[in-house]
Amino acid sequence: MEKITKLGLLCSLVGLAAIYAGAVYVRPSVTPIAKIDNEFIGLKVIISGQVVDLRESNGHLFLTLQDNSDGTMAVPIFSSVRSQLGDSIEMLDEVQVTGEVTLYQGALEVVPEEAGDISIVHSPCLGISSIDNSLIGEPIKVRGIVDKREIVGKGNIILTLGEDGAQLAVFVPSSVAGSSEFPEVHVGYVVQASGWLQMYENELELRITGASNIRVIEAA
């Protein structure tokens, strides 16, 4: 019996050492998003890119990351993981995610398992005065004081953000303004907003696509 014990223990240790060596050899490395296809399903990858879309639902956060390879990838951050994150994630932040590639409703996504799988580098805000027509159609992030708050149409909100004398309109559609996650924003508050720059009636305007895209930095 002792022989079998020794043999069992020896085989276990040798097997574990071989599996460990194999796991080190194939450990996940940063993979260009455009390269990730169905072959990667079930494997762990590391992707690094800019947040170009961000939505919230039932406490979960759904990101879309884009990297230099021009690929985009959905990254769902479930509420249990999100609640462990020490930092918030905003549009245009650089985010690195380690997670398993899965297929959900026909599309690939990378799912982080815990907060340690996500690292965030916040992108700086653009000065409002530096925003011009060349940025139309691009995602941008700005910070400013709410000079004006109007409700237009069926519950849409237009905030006018000011910074060093320059102003920018921020359009919040009713679907976002009406969500429970949208923060209370009043005149005099300092807010950070991110979204897509567009032209509306010959004026530049920032369009918010989700409640997480606006954050109150300082209440008046």
Binding site: R27, G42, E113
Partner: protein
């Protein structure tokens, strides 16, 4: 209607095949039905009914090979040892009956509890989740402490850590796809190791006694209720994978005897299978390959869910009869098979399937898990310490330490 019945019959047939062949899972055949859906003019409802029928039948039938051949499928590994013990006492058919009670009880209770469970599970899980790793650690400490003597405790810890590290390496690294790794892992720890030892110790399969008394559901109400609740949790939540789910189920089903244990594990698996479909409606997220396939076929609203639950109950009634008939057939004939040759053939087929699904790495995982699985029997400690294979990754996951530990090992 005829088309629907034909598809349900097809699902049942596929469920029998996937259930009887160790290593072939419903998830392997669901894509086939999906392909059929794309290329055919059949109603998505009929195809969804076939997938549901296959899932329910598979859950019942998979206990037959795990009882008589000791070859577990993911989810049934916990029942292998108690069932194998009964088999060695000539009570293999009783194990089949207990599985039928657990599966059918779990099915009926799950259908009855769909609404209240969907409402209660969220808050309960949210409340427990932050303390889950402590709960799991306490279970491990208790499991180890129950060994009593110092030498046995040292062996128990060694086996727990060896299997835990093996689980971490196989399920949480890129050496193998985690779903493909489960089969060689669990088969090695709980199936092949037991078969190898029984090859050495027992030359002959004892004659199996077949009891014709009717099934008694009432006596097993407690394990059915506990198992169904645990199965519902594992089938419902998006962050609980197969490993976390099985461990939660194990905690919830720490029943006193082997018989209760088999019933509760079977209820867990049936509830898990059913609630993975309910999750499609309740949270819009598929929690199994089969449910994902149904989700791809059609939008699940209250009407569709009710239809699927109806199909599940209908198929459950048929599957329980098929399960008993096949179980009786197996019990009558298992003694006629040459035991050694059967064991060797099962081991060879598990090795072949491990190689087919995961290549040489699958064989390496199978060999290592078998070596670890042999240790509890030779050093005379409980084989449940091998559950470290799922428990250690689980504890680390719930404690939020898995990434940290993997990076510390350079992974």
């Amino acid at each position: 209607m005829l088309e629907l019945l034909a598809f349900i019959a097809l699902g049942i047939a596929m469920g029998i095949i996937t259930g009887l062949l160790p290593g072939i899972h419903v998830n392997n055949l669901s894509p086939m039905l999906m392909a059929l859906a794309v290329a055919s003019v059949f109603a998505p409802m009929s195809l969804a009914a076939a997938i549901m029928a296959m899932t329910i039948t598979n859950t019942f039938i998979s206990y037959i090979p795990s009882t008589f051949l000791g070859a577990p499928e993911p989810g049934s590994e916990l029942s292998v040892l108690p069932a194998h013990r009964l088999l060695m006492q000539g009570k293999g058919y009783e194990a089949v009956e207990l599985a039928a009670i657990g599966c059918f009880g779990g099915l009926v209770l799950s259908v009855a509890l769909v609404l209240p469970m969907s409402l209660l599970m969220g808050p309960t899980y949210k409340m427990l989740r932050p303390q889950m790793y402590l709960l799991l650690t306490a279970v491990v400490v208790l499991m180890v402490a129950l060994e009593r003597s110092k030498t046995k405790i040292v062996w128990a810890i060694t086996i727990f850590l060896l299997s835990g590290f093996l689980g971490l390496l196989s399920l949480d690294t890129n050496i193998c796809r985690s779903d493909a790794a489960l089969m060689p892992l669990l088969s090695g720890l709980f199936g092949v190791s037991a078969l190898l030892l029984s090859l050495k110790n027992e030359g002959k399969m004892p004659e199996q006694r077949i009891d014709d008394r009717p099934l008694e559901m009432k006596r097993h109400l407690k394990p059915i209720c506990v198992g169904t609740a645990a199965g519902a949790v594992t089938g419902f939540f998006p962050t609980i994978g197969p490993s976390q789910g099985t461990v939660l189920a194990q905690i919830a089903t720490r029943s006193s005897g082997s018989r209760e244990f088999i019933v509760s594990v079977c209820s867990v698996n049936m509830a898990k299978a059913l609630f993975s479909f309910v999750a499609l409606y309740a949270i819009g997220n598929a929690r199994s390959g089969a449910a994902a396939a149904v989700g791809e076929l059609m939008e699940i609203g209250p009407r569709e869910l009710l239809f699927l639950l109806g199909v599940a109950l209908f198929v459950g009634g048929i599957a329980v009869i098929l399960h008993m008939k096949l179980g009786r057939l197996a019990a009558r004939n298992i003694g006629r098979l040459p035991y050694r040759a059967t064991c060797i053939a099962v081991i060879a087929s598990i090795a072949g399937l491990s190689f087919y699904y995961s290549g040489l790495v699958g064989l390496l995982i199978l060999a290592t898990s078998t070596a670890i699985g042999i240790l509890p029997a030779v050093v005379n400690v409980k084989r449940t310490h091998c559950m470290g294979v799922l428990m250690l990754p689980c504890i680390l996951y719930f404690a939020g330490l898995k990434s940290g530990v993997l990076s510390a090992f350079g992974l």
